[in-house]
């Protein structure tokens, strides 16, 4: 019996936070009560290995069943008793283990390596480090330690490459179709490709381009953010190069992608490096949701077929390549887990395999024993979504397209054309100075482009798998199955022949995919809370600490130029007024350019024209300007929101690059104000600022300073702003709100799930384009109706 065979054994497992690894750990804990587990987990940037285990593994719903069976308390106790976690990383030599980690590995009776970069489009060097070298690194450490536990390496059926016909459970290089490749040369090549691409990315020409692209995406977001974005674009460019390098290299030697290619070389390498360690290779095909264990339909992550299926159900994939009579080799995750456990138990019971020959291979696949034809799968999916359609944002059911099984080239061409049209339209819209609702339309278009891009990506990545006509033999697997006792067969079923495909697809897999995809599955207007309502509720929750507000176009539809024009024209008459208007209009475009390039430079430059303005006069004029300019251009709903925050008990702060005397009349609206200030000399302004105006990154800094001063946590703060130049402030808080966002910010807000508010001016009130003050009364300095 398997549980008995594994009783008292210590299993060392990698990749436990992955899809297969999670299911494996769960099954071992539940069905093999006397085995102990050691999990190798890579520490995260902010979380230790143990914390990651708790958060990313044991909180997964895979453990719901076990937790319910055992009781929450006993479950925790069992974890403490049976599971230990060590920090480490299979992508570095020596696995990054400390002494305790090495000791834990040395104490293992069985090592199961399931960590992998499963993405089909990883950069070639990442795929090489993790997939190709990972298994050998473990073998090397075991040999160094002088131990010989049973080592099970999880690979993939697709190491057989892009070919037709039978692919047997034999070493990769035993196949007549295998192109002999030196795996060490591939490792060196991949590392060199990284170094080359990296060097190339630092050329002046490319760096300029990244910087330009960063500015296009973020606008005048300030130095640090633009720098961060530029660097991100550079790294992305390098990664793209390496993804491309992986794809072409894999194709050149007959593999569908870098994943299959590096996995294949990993097996070749392992045959050389496993040395005295008795090793077995388990190759699953495409792993999908659970047939029965821990619960039918259990799945982790949004993986390969799932996004394709959802895109199809949303009507986005008008067509998909594939050979209708071909076999789609899918295997439920619980069958793979059971096979691994059975292999572990069998080898633990039998004398160990000979370490000098290539490791034996078990394939866990359905194609040869119980094939699912591609046409059947597509029909099942199509029929299911006709019966259970997804719904669009208007609550209308989405009709699924009928696929015609064209060649991949045709589908790709079609998607490329769509993408081109959408991208063109998007570029045109982005060039327009849009705001608010129009900007949201542009953001919609961006979303459309991304969907089209994603669809194209799916076709490119996964289309090959729908066209793959290899049949994976499972002779050795079934032999193992035949040898199992009836009790084991019941608890550890891995016989692919038990899958009733129609039932599995209709009743298990598709409901699970839809459930996990967070899509609309009911008609009509969405009941309950909309996304905006939920975000608004969070923003207005009493737990928030404070709310920071930008001024221009967030609270009022005005700007520093308008207030300057108003104040300056108040004491001008007749011809002077006309001259002033003409001059200001003429300057408009250059001011706008400067503003778009760098907000802080613009303000400094612009504020110089306040030089020699009398302080007292401006104070009086600003008070009038509140009624004449600022309030007439205010967004009543925005002012209401400020007060709503105060009512809830949040502190409110205005952080603006506008001058302090201009916003002075707005002070009572806020608890605090951070504004630009000018130095004063002999009762007149000097036109020079006392410090950096709070814009861009210094606005974020102002916010941090403010939070620190009041003992607040920025993560519990709300910030309202309208443009990408406010990104640093928006990113600084836990609850950013984009108000009447311009196109770029609208797109960013949508991507990041930020609350977007449309605040309008009071309807029915019109004002002129250039805001001029009515000439001040003759008795200047006297308010129209002064108070005592």
């Amino acid at each position: 019996m398997i549980p008995e065979a594994l009783a008292g054994k210590r299993l060392f497992i990698t990749g436990s936070t992955g899809f297969l690894g999670t299911a494996l750990v769960e099954r071992l804990l539940r069905e093999v009560p006397d085995a102990e587990l050691t999990l190798l987990i890579r520490p995260g940037r902010r979380a230790s290995a143990a914390q990651r285990a708790r958060r990313e593994l044991f909180r997964n719903d895979a453990f719901d069943r076990l937790r319910a069976d055992r009781g929450a308390k006993e479950f925790e106790a069992e974890l403490d008793r049976r599971v230990s976690v060590v920090g480490g990383d299979v992508s570095v030599d020596g696995l990054g283990l400390d002494e305790a980690g090495r000791a834990a590995l040395a104490a293992a009776d069985i090592v199961i390596h399931s960590a992998a970069a499963v993405s089909f489009d990883s950069p070639i060097d990442a795929a090489v480090e993790i997939n190709l070298l990972g298994p050998s690194r473990i073998a090397t450490v075991l040999n160094e330690l002088g131990v010989a536990p049973h080592y099970i390496a999880v690979s993939t059926c697709y190491v057989a490459g892009s070919r037709r016909g039978n692919a047997l459970e034999e070493p990769v290089d035993a196949s007549p179709f295998y192109v002999d490749v030196n795996w060490r040369a591939e490792v060196a090549g991949a590392r060199r490709a990284r170094a080359d691409a990296d060097a190339q990315s630092r050329s002046a020409e490319l760096l300029k381009r990244f910087r330009k692209d960063a500015r296009t995406e973020l606008g005048a977001a300030g130095g640090p953010l633009l720098a961060a974005k530029t660097e991100q674009l550079r790294q992305r460019w390098v990664d793209d190069r390496l993804i491309e390098a992986g794809r072409t290299r894999a194709a050149s030697v007959g593999f569908p992608d870098a994943y299959a290619f590096t996995k294949a070389l990993a097996e070749v390498a392992l045959a050389e490096t496993h040395g005295a360690v008795p090793t077995t290779i388990v190759r699953p095909s495409i792993i999908e949701s659970a047939l029965a264990e821990p619960v039918p339909g259990w799945i982790r992550g949004f993986r390969m077929a799932e996004p394709v299926i959802i895109s199809y159900a949303r009507g986005l994939l008008r067509d998909f390549p594939g050979v209708p009579e071909g076999v789609v080799d899918v295997i439920p995750v619980d069958l793979v887990v059971a096979a691994i456990v059975a292999v572990a138990a069998a080898e633990a019971r039998d004398p160990r395999p000979d370490p000098t020959v290539a490791p034996p291979v078990f394939q866990v696949a359905s194609g040869s024993a119980n094939p699912l034809r591609y046409r059947r799968l597509v029909d099942l999916v199509s029929n299911w979504f006709s019966e259970h359609p997804l719904y669009d944002t208007m609550g209308q059911p989405i009709k699924v397209p009928q696929w015609s099984f064209p060649g991949r080239g045709r589908v790709e061409g079609q998607l490329r054309r769509t993408l081109k049209v959408v991208t063109k339209a998007e570029n045109a819209l982005n060039a327009l100075p849009l705001r608010g609702r129009q900007a949201e339309l542009a953001a919609n278009l961006e979303e459309k482009r991304e969907l089209a891009e994603r669809a194209a990506g799916y076709v490119e990545l996964y289309g090959k798998y729908a066209e793959c006509e290899a049949i994976y033999g499972v002779g050795r697997l079934l032999e193992l199955w035949e040898g199992l006792e009836p009790g084991d067969r019941q608890r550890f079923c891995f016989d692919p022949r038990v899958i009733a495909w129609d039932d599995y697809v209709r009743d298990v897999h598709l409901p699970s995919v839809v459930r996990n995809a967070r899509v609309r599955t009911s008609p009509g207007p969405r009941g309950g809370e909309t996304r905006t309502e939920r975000l608004r509720r969070q923003v207005l929750h009493p737990d928030r600490h404070f709310a920071a507000f930008d001024l221009e176009n967030t609270l009022i539809a005005s700007n520093v130029v308008a207030s300057y024009a108003w104040l300056a024209s108040r004491h001008l008459e007749g011809r002077d007024r006309l001259r002033f208007v003409a001059r200001t209009m003429a300057e408009g475009p250059s001011l706008l350019r400067l503003d778009m390039a760098d907000r802080s430079d613009f303000l400094r430059y612009f504020y110089r024209r306040y030089k020699d303005a009398p302080v007292d006069e401006l104070r009086i004029d600003s008070a009038e300007m509140l009624s004449e300019l600022i309030l007439t251009r205010s967004f009543p709903a925005a002012l209401r929101r400020v007060r709503e925050h105060r009512r809830i008990g949040h502190r409110t702060v205005l952080i603006t690059g506008a001058l302090d005397f201009v916003i002075e009349p707005l002070r009572p609206l806020f608890d605090d104000v951070v504004a630009a200030e000018m130095t004063v000399s002999a009762g007149r302004y000097t036109g020079e600022l006392t410090g950096a105006p709070p814009t861009g990154e210094s606005r974020a800094q102002a916010l941090f300073d403010y939070a620190a001063e009041h003992g607040f946590d920025p993560a519990e703060a709300v910030a309202y702003a309208d443009s990408t130049s406010d990104l640093p402030m928006l990113e600084a808080v836990g609850f950013p709100v984009a108000v009447n966002p311009e196109t770029r910010l609208a797109a960013l807000a949508r991507k990041r799930g930020w609350l977007v508010e449309q605040f309008d001016r009071s309807p029915g009130f019109r004002h002129s384009l250039l805001p001029l003050a009515p000439p001040a009364p003759a008795s200047a300095g006297t308010k129209s109706s002064p108070r005592t």
Partner: protein, 531 residues
């Protein structure tokens, strides 16, 4: 020829279409013959030939009081308070009555050697008047002499230092007054009595008061018990103000009340808008032509331009009486003069009352008539312009015509915007509104700031607008707005119809297929004496 009195026209087949005011525009509507009637106001009464002479005569021959000159003495503290921008409607041509009277009072004061004089716009919780508006009301001479030194200013009911409590009425009502006014040796109040609600103790007890006092009578209970608030003998609003007047008489300053009445010559007997004051069948060819031209012109304008055209109209009102002295004695005389111009006897009630609402009400001079003000003008002012019984029977239907745009003045009416968005979207029931929302708006610091330093109506003001209509809301079976923005009308809790005929159809399930219809014809304003 003596001006013709107001009368009630029975509509028959030969009656031409009737003019309905419709905001900054007009509609001509054919009323069903045989069961409709139209109430027309009287023609303008003749004005006093020598207004300045009449004023000086009145100052020296007051009612139940010593002459003004006898009340003034050197070294005294004199305060002159005057009615604000909400009177008269539309604003009158220069010189404004207030200017004439204040100049006369100042001359008398100067002769008596009084040099401590302050002049206050008694605006209660209304918005502050702008410099231009103050100049219009008191004249440039007075303005330039007093404003620069801070001796002419707007009342500020939220100035913590500037208000005093004079006492409490037997009903427990606080009596509050502007400190300067309260601590003066003499308070001269300059009133314009456009409708019968104005004047009397309301001038000082309301005009120079604040929220602390106003909440005692500006509330749903008082307004629902005032039937109508235009009829001072049946108005709980007046009773409360008169009770407060007693406290002022005991503990407040000595008051010299100057009240005036004007005729109803709002749009002139000649000029571009003269046809508005004529009866439709008496329109000349020229009237018809100017009406058609005006309709076409207005149609071509954006709403802001239309607004500008209308709000620039100044009425050629003429003074019909001026009397001064003791508050209560003076007001009796004043009321008689008001009734002389306004009262039109009407026999019996009606099933459906129709009215055309103009572009202006007391609270949107030089501003925007927002939906809340539409409600207040129709259900507050026009509905209540009756004596005896309401023109429309209990459970009857009110049909009013106004574009009711979803528009607000961001400076003048900030709390209205929030009231409309937050309160009315929740409930339109005056009692619920009063209980759940009034306090938070009335005590809101931001509204307070805007009322005091900008040109905003007080935070609580939209509530008063709603309370003003609460008697009508209680009385009526249905309210239908013709030609309004359906969204805004629905927010008000009313029904929206695109034509008068549709509105009459919609009324039929409340008042049956053959209801009687009465049209309240304006301009100018009239008061129905319903028997």
């Amino acid at each position: 020829m003596a001006p013709r009195p107001g009368f009630v026209l029975e509509v028959d087949g030969s009656t031409p279409p009737i003019l309905f005011h419709h905001g900054e525009g007009f509609r001509l509507e054919k009323l069903p013959a045989g069961r409709s009637r139209v109430i027309y106001p009287a023609e303008p009464l003749p004005g006093l030939k020598d207004p300045d002479g009449a004023i000086r005569h009145a100052l020296e021959h007051p009612i139940d009081s010593e002459p003004l000159s006898a009340l003034l003495f050197a070294g005294m503290k004199l305060t002159i308070a005057f009615d604000d921008i909400s009177l008269p409607l539309p604003p009158m041509r220069r010189p404004d009555i207030r200017q004439r009277i204040i100049e006369a009072v100042l001359d008398t004061a100067a002769a008596a050697g009084v040099d401590d004089v302050e002049i206050i716009a008694a605006l209660a919780l209304h918005r502050r008047m702008t410099e231009a508006e103050l100049r219009h009301a008191v004249g440039d001479r007075v303005y330039d002499a007093f404003a620069p030194s801070g001796k002419l200013y707007n009342h500020d009911a939220e100035d913590p230092e500037g208000m005093v409590i004079l006492g409490t009425t037997p009903h427990g009502e606080d009596v509050q007054m502007n400190r300067r006014a309260a601590e003066s040796d003499l308070l001269v109040y300059v009133n314009i009595n456009l409708v019968s609600m104005d004047g009397g103790w309301k001038s000082t007890a309301t005009g120079l008061s604040g929220y602390t006092a106003l909440r005692h009578h500006h509330n749903v209970k008082t307004m629902q018990a005032s039937k109508s608030f235009m009829d001072q003998h049946r108005s709980e609003l007046h009773s409360s103000n008169w009770r407060m007047g007693k406290v002022i008489r005991q503990s407040g300053p000595k008051i010299f009340q100057i009240e005036t009445t004007v005729n109803n010559n709002s749009f002139g007997t000649s000029g571009p808008l003269a046809f508005l004051q004529k009866r439709e069948w008496e329109w000349s060819t020229k009237d018809r032509a100017s009406f058609v031209a005006m309709q076409a012109g207005l149609k071509a304008m954006p709403s802001s331009a239309r607004r500008k055209v209308f709000s620039s109209w100044e009425a050629p009102y003429e003074l019909t009486s001026v009397q001064c002295g003791d508050v209560e004695s003076v007001h009796k005389v004043t009321t008689e003069h008001v009734y002389r111009q306004h009262l039109v006897p009407v026999q019996g009630q009606t099933d459906i009352l129709t009215m055309g609402l103009p572009y202006i009400c007391p609270y949107n001079v030089n501003s925007i008539m927002n939906p809340i003000l539409v409600m207040c003008l129709g259900l507050g002012y026009f509905f209540n312009l009756y004596r005896g019984r309401p023109l429309v029977r209990e459970g009857g239907v009110l049909i009013m015509s106004h574009p009711t745009p979803w528009e607000f003045h961001p400076v003048h009416h900030p709390s209205y915007i929030d009231f409309f968005d937050q309160v009315l979207s929740d409930t339109t029931d005056p009692i619920e509104i009063e209980q759940r929302y009034e306090k938070s708006f009335a005590e809101d610091e931001w509204y307070r700031h805007l009322y005091r330093t900008s040109y905003a109506y007080h935070g609580v003001h939209p509530f008063y607008m709603w309370y003003w209509g609460s008697h009508a809301l209680q009385h009526l079976g249905r309210v239908i707005v013709v030609g309004g923005d359906p969204r805004a009308v629905r927010r008000l809790g009313f029904m929206s119809a695109s034509t008068l005929n549709d509105a009459l159809e919609m009324a039929s399930d409340v008042v049956g297929r053959h209801p009687t219809i009465t049209h309240y014809h304006n301009p100018p304003v009239l008061m129905a004496d319903v028997s």
